[in-house]
Amino acid sequence: MVAYAWLMLLFPLLGVLVNAFFGRRIGKRVVSWVACSAIGLSFLVALGVLVGVAGSKGIEQPLFTWIRAGNFRVEFSLLLDPLSALMAAVVTGVSFLIHIYSVGYMAEDPRYARYFTYLNLFVFAMLILVLANNYLMMYVGWEGVGLCSYLLIGFWFERKSAADAGKKAFIVNRVGDVGFALGIMLIFATFGTLQFSEVFRRAPGVLGPAVVTAITLLLFMGATGKSAQIPLYIWLPDAMEGPTPVSALIHAATMVTAGVYMVARNHVLFDMAPATMTVVASIGAATAFFAATMALVEKDLKRILAYSTISQLGYMFLAVGVGAYSAGMFHLTTHAFFKALLFLAAGSVMHALAGEINIMKLGGLREKLPTTYAVFAVGAAALAGVPLFSGFFSKDEILWRAFLRSPVLWLVGLVTALLTAVYIFRALFVTFWGKTRAEKKLWEHAHEAPAVMSVPMLILAVLAVVGGYIGLPRLSLVEGYLEPVLPAGHIAEAGALEWVLLAVSAVVALGGIALAYYLYVVRPEAPARLSRQYAPLYTLLSRKYYVDEFYMAVVVEPLRRVGRFIAELFDPQVVDGAVNGLARLAGVCGEGLGTLQTGRVRSYALSILVGVVIILGYFLLR
């Protein structure tokens, strides 16, 4: 199966081509069959590869030479190793489920074929990112998924907010990508190659500490863009303008984790740059915490999930930042399951209530949407880290490894875990419990999603529960599987401390749930009082720390103002004015000379005599 790995790319590509060119003619049924089967087949191949590469160090499959310019040679070639296989399997698997879900969710949309084209294109790009054997190809996938993200966020482009969000996502990502690109250039300048295996092989020999720090920081800059970390996370909440399955797939389960994957992929370099590692871990922790605080006061269900995603990505970076790559990858996997699940459930809510997403206008939905409620609860529990749910294990491993590195990081993680439990259960309680606040008409029409949507949710729910067991401490399936690529390193033998920490986080998670229960079920008037009491804090949180405004005022507006100055004043008046002024000057000179031409013979004679006197004088006195 490994030899046919390229099929993984081919199927989605075929799906793209078929749906792009014939999508509007072949009908929605065929479109969805084409799209889903493409990804399904791709998933099967991925599973095959997953099994096939187990235990191997990695196989490279060159397809063709892409760019050759002097010694700058880039092959289009696949790297198949446990890391990429795991990632590919997660990507295609989750994608497959979400494709199926989308068949139901998007059933009424007029741009049905386009939607699936984009979605297939996304999988294609994501697989290129994952399977790349060199930086530039990874960059291709990297920007490719960015494009699909842009297109899908702005899928309903008639809404200005959607178009804005898409553009914002692309541009903010571009900022990160530029860092990534510069990192690639630095790598090329240092190693003369862009192939992972070559770079990693030579890295210990040729890299100085400054260069490796620079390289890794630049790469990490790319990761902050794609994975929505501080300071470039601002695009992700807005990205919720896209269709919900897209949020589930791209902005929760797959694309945004690319940064984590990239860091893991480059662990050789990152391991050599302790300073960068500190930065990565700190930014991860900080992002995890701040995003969680913002999620606390958010009223938009999808945005709560978006902040949650940012926060969980922060966890992952915390993990890779402390060197726990497989822990990061493990959390990435479980997160993919439960966050996709949460989004799909949210989508189900929207589907039922004609797109209503403000949790303050929902409530009491558990009677109308029992399945959705159930899977949401599973997802929430997994996210909150309720023991025995998948998130519990992966998060715990991260906290444990963070503790080994620095108790401060651990403490931040722990607090975040508390906040996580609070905000997600706040969302759960406000949405599904109590009395409804929805409009009557909507409420009456609310209905459970069709099977095509609920089945994928159920599958994901199962995965969200059991997904954690592949990485149970001491069992460590993930770690073991990734061992050939990500050597676990020498970790201190887990002692009693690990169990204590496990217990602490379990308590914290349950405590958070309890707190949420108290605040939103027992004393529903309390949150409002609190928000009045701590008004400044509340405003700060609800305005997302004014970061958007900050960027607007410090970056966007000044640039626009400079642009306007150039476009409307400087360019036409000064630069072009100089040109036109020169022309006008010549014209004025011409008219001036014309006035010397008086028409009078004597003045002409005078001019001749002037000439005579000057020339004669010159010749005589020379």
Partner: protein, 100 residues
């Protein structure tokens, strides 16, 4: 002072008077007369030099200049009279339709 220098200076003075007259007078006829003065001044130079150089070239040059002057007078007076017919003026400053 040598005789030749005296003669050359004399003709230069005459030439300059003629040139000044061209600038200072507005009557076309007078301007033309001034030009004739200038030509005659040059003629004087030629004759003096011819004598000095003991060559006839200068004298023959003066002979040619006389022919030129005759032809110029024919044309010049024709033009001036022609203009006078149209405009009733011989003031060159009045003849300035063309300018700019």
């Amino acid at each position: 002072m040598d005789a030749i220098r005296y003669l050359l200076i004399l003709s230069a003075v005459l030439f300059t008077i003629g040139a000044a007259g061209v600038l200072l007078r507005r009557n076309a006829l007078v301007i033309f007369m001034c030009i004739e003065i200038m030509l005659n001044a040059v003629n004087l130079t030629f004759i003096a030099l011819s004598r000095q150089l003991q060559s006839l070239d200068g004298q023959i040059f003066v002979f040619m200049v006389m022919a030129v002057a005759a032809a110029e007078v024919a044309i010049g007076l024709g033009i001036i009279v022609s203009i006078f017919r149209h405009r009733a003026t011989t003031d060159v400053d009045d003849v300035s339709l063309l300018k700019g």
